[in-house]
């Protein structure tokens, strides 16, 4: 019996899922690693630990689930988070930790570049918003602030490229991941000279870009032996977590938007054209020759919800896992609109649609009857209002009438129903939680010839649960959203002032 393995190098853990050739899950396993925050604006991961964890999880799933049942591994498909930067020397050894997507050290470099004509030009060519998250800004930061590392760097790669290098001794990067660097020209599918010049690097310091179905490399001998695989196992380079999670909704040929809420969140759409505007609001990632995935990201998704539970909910004595079901019951009982309480969720500044790192959170409308549970529901609704404001800016360019939701937060019944009510649109809830791995499997099975196209591979997606919006709740949410939007508009100057005080302290 044949199978394929999908390996997703995520922000908190590496998840490995084995699928049979019909796209049914056979086994899954994960291994976590920490993110280091030595300062508030720093987010780093240890590349050796990420690699060892990936190897460990891969080995244990092969040893425990595949060897005994004599399953043959036809292919391994890779995916990862976007935007990480790891400088390595000429021997491929890491020069320090990997700087991951949430790292904010390059904020002022990005802000300065964004104001210039060059910044706009780079955005139009690369489709990646000019922001601290983008490897373009991070490499420019290393050049200015870490001359020793910058001078020794033979290549700037991502954690995914590092893991692939350990498996194959070769440097390749898929178009999806490359298109998230701010260094890659979406039209020519080549490294963009303007970006390279700004970052101070040359093409030979980056990996060779290839399409996501690329399989022109092999596991090196020692790895084959260690993993009990042979040269016939194909390695497929794959794509990113965002692209695969979006693919796994099956929304490719429909005019639907995809709402993902994990610790952050995003509203995404498929399209044959890029989605750029003069404000530099939207990201654009290459999926394949036909499709781009475009949209806007928020920094304040599930993380803001967790913050509210940890800091507002009073009943937490011992175990959060036990309290959550009870909390969700209580939240469901609170009326839509949290008795007129609003929350602006900008705990970590905000990316789309306002792109304002000074933005700060607030409760608005508190009165004497509000209790902690209203505040938590208001946080949840506030996060969804923020998703709606991203969607609104997309709707100016691209029409959609239905939604798909995925991600650990959004795919719960309470969240999904509120999403449906706020948007006033029907919602399909993904029933498979490891969405990036499912998208990987769709690609893997297509490359292996089981399906003719990614569209056809959609048949492996478990059928989603459908929800419909309530008209009366939607009307109420519309009124609240108007206040939400106008507060955000009005407070720009106050955000700046309060952020200045907070930075000084």
């Amino acid at each position: 019996m044949d199978c394929i393995i999908t390996l997703e190098i995520g922000t908190t853990s590496t998840k490995v899922v084995v699928f049979d050739m019909l796209g049914k899950q056979i086994a899954s396993n994960k291994g976590a690693y920490p993110t280091f925050h030595n300062h508030t604006h720093i987010s780093e991961q240890d590349p050796e630990q990420v690699f060892i964890t990936a190897l460990f999880v891969l080995k244990s799933i092969i040893n425990n689930h595949l060897l005994s049942s004599k399953r043959k591994v036809r292919a391994i498909v890779f995916s990862s988070s976007m935007h990480s930067v790891l400088p390595v020397d000429k021997n491929g050894n890491p020069l320090g930790n990997a700087i991951i997507w949430s790292d904010n050290r390059a904020a002022s470099i990005a802000e300065d570049l964004k104001k210039t004509a060059l910044g706009d030009e780079i955005y139009q060519k690369t489709g990646t918003p000019i922001h601290a998250m983008s490897p373009l800004a991070k490499i420019a930061w290393l050049r200015q602030n870490s001359k020793e590392i910058y001078g020794q760097t033979a290549k700037f790669i991502s954690l995914k490229e590092y893991v692939l290098y350990q498996f194959t001794d070769e440097y390749f990067i898929d178009y999806s991941l490359a298109s998230a660097t701010g260094l890659f020209n979406l039209k020519s599918k080549k490294w963009e000279e303007d970006s390279l010049k700004f970052a101070g690097i040359t093409t030979d310091q980056l990996s060779t870009p290839v399409p996501i179905n690329f399989d022109g490399f092999k596991l090196k001998k020692t790895m084959q032996k260690s993993l009990h695989l042979d040269a016939s196992t194909k390695l497929i380079i794959g794509s990113t977590d965002g692209c695969f999670a979006t693919l796994s909704t099956g929304a490719m040929q429909k005019d639907d938007a995809i709402i993902s809420i994990t610790s952050g969140g995003a509203v995404r759409v498929f399209g044959k054209e890029c989605l750029t505007n003069d404000k530099g609001t939207f990201f654009n990632y290459i999926l394949n020759d036909d499709y781009y995935i475009s949209g806007g990201p928020t920094s304040n998704g599930g993380l803001a919800f967790d913050w509210s539970i940890n800091n507002i909910y009073k009943n937490i004595e011992d175990d959060l896992d036990k309290v959550i079901p009870q909390l969700f019951n209580e939240l469901t009982k609170v009326q839509a609109g949290s008795n007129g309480l609003l929350f602006l969720p900008y705990l970590q500044g905000e990316r789309a649609p306002i792109w304002d790192s000074n933005a700060r959170a607030m409760f608005f409308g508190l009165n004497i009857t509000h209790q902690p549970i209203h505040m938590i529901r208001a946080v949840l609704e506030g996060i969804i209002f923020e998703m709606f404001s991203i969607a609104k800016s997309i709707l100016k360019h691209r029409q959609f009438n239905a939604l798909h939701v995925n991600g650990v937060y959004a795919a719960t019944p309470l969240w999904s129903q509120i999403i449906s009510d706020v948007f006033g649109m029907p919602v399909s809830i993904s029933q498979y939680p490891l969405s990036a791995n499912l998208g990987s499997a769709m690609l893997g099975l297509t490359v292996m010839g089981e399906y003719k196209s990614l569209q056809e591979a959609s048949s492996i997606i478990p059928s989603p649960i459908e929800l419909n919006p309530s008209v009366s709740k939607h009307k109420l949410y519309q009124k609240l959203f108007d206040i939400f939007e106008s507060l955000t508009d009005k407070l720009e100057e106050e955000f700046r002032q309060i952020a200045e005080i907070q930075t000084k302290n």
Partner: protein, 292 residues
């Protein structure tokens, strides 16, 4: 050998008494008291249990407000002072525990504490990691201290043994509370980060699952489940992944011998290191170094 607690002592002297297992007294501050700077002795863990009053503390240049019933645990070499203000009056139990006599027990001198040596190492690590630790709203230190005082005042049969046992209880209860109070209001993700940091900083230590569980204030069973759920690893496998990760860095970036790398990363022999390393990476440490 034991110093009797005094109820009136309001002067802080940094008296040196390296052979005493512990030292307890009551401090009374009032507006007129002197406020000397106080450095915790090298060989001592010091606990302060605030009985009444309110006074602002400066520990290693950081300000802390400590309220009645709070227990403060301070690691050696920390500097403590108090903010001058005319309003504060307070009473504090000061408990100093001689760490040296526990860490390097002499064969000739009977070991006074019943705490297992390895466990005590973990407890000390805990105190060091959380230094200064403030355990809010606890009653047990004052209760134990008053029992100790009674034992010493009455000198009944077996009072020394009982006193030492009470000091052990104080140490262990405090250590358990530190892990638990760090667990309050945070999810396991945060606690796992604390543990991860502790493991990284002490990779050469021969960790047991019981010790790891103690760091975050759990029993072994629920700890193992939680780690597995959160990380996908069993606690010991997570530790191995950290050890191999560190070993790879040392192999790539230094010329340190394999034996030393093995010891530094917590493997008990170079054979154990070599076989574990090969099991995980597919290469022996020597071949791995050659390749680079």
């Amino acid at each position: 050998m034991l110093k009797e607690p005094t109820n009136t002592d309001n002067q802080i002297s940094s008296g040196n008494h390296p052979t005493d297992p512990f030292f307890i007294r009551t401090l009374n501050f009032n507006a007129a008291s002197e406020r000397p700077v106080y450095v915790v002795n090298d060989h001592e863990i010091t606990m302060f249990h605030l009985i009444s009053g309110n006074i602002e503390w400066i520990i290693d240049n950081q300000y802390f407000t400590i309220l009645p019933n709070d227990l403060l645990v301070v690691y050696p070499k920390s500097t403590i002072s108090w903010v001058e203000s005319s309003l504060d009056i307070c009473t504090i139990y000061e408990i100093r525990i001689n760490v040296e006599s526990l860490l390097a027990p002499h064969i000739h001198k009977p070991l006074w504490s019943g705490i297992h040596h390895a466990e005590f190492n973990v407890i000390l690590n805990l105190f060091k990691h959380y230094n200064p630790a403030i355990i809010p709203e606890c009653k047990f230190p004052a209760e134990i201290v008053s029992k100790i005082m009674k034992e010493i005042a009455n000198e009944e049969l077996g009072f020394k043994t009982r006193t030492y046992a009470l000091v052990d209880e104080l140490i262990i209860s405090t250590a358990r509370c530190i892990g638990k109070s760090s667990a309050r209001n945070t999810d396991f993700k945060e606690q796992f980060l604390i543990l991860d940091k502790m493991l990284r900083n002490n990779l050469s230590h021969q960790w047991t699952v019981a010790e790891m569980a103690g760091i975050v204030g759990f029993g072994i069973t629920s700890f193992t489940d939680k780690v597995k759920n959160h990380s996908g690893f069993s606690p010991l496998n997570y530790l191995i992944s950290l050890r191999i990760t560190e070993a790879i860095k040392l192999i790539k970036n230094t010329d340190i011998s394999m034996t030393h790398i093995a010891l530094r990363t917590g493997f008990y022999s170079s054979q154990h290191f070599s076989s574990t390393f090969k099991k995980v990476t597919g290469l022996s440490p020597k071949d791995f170094r050659k390749k680079d």
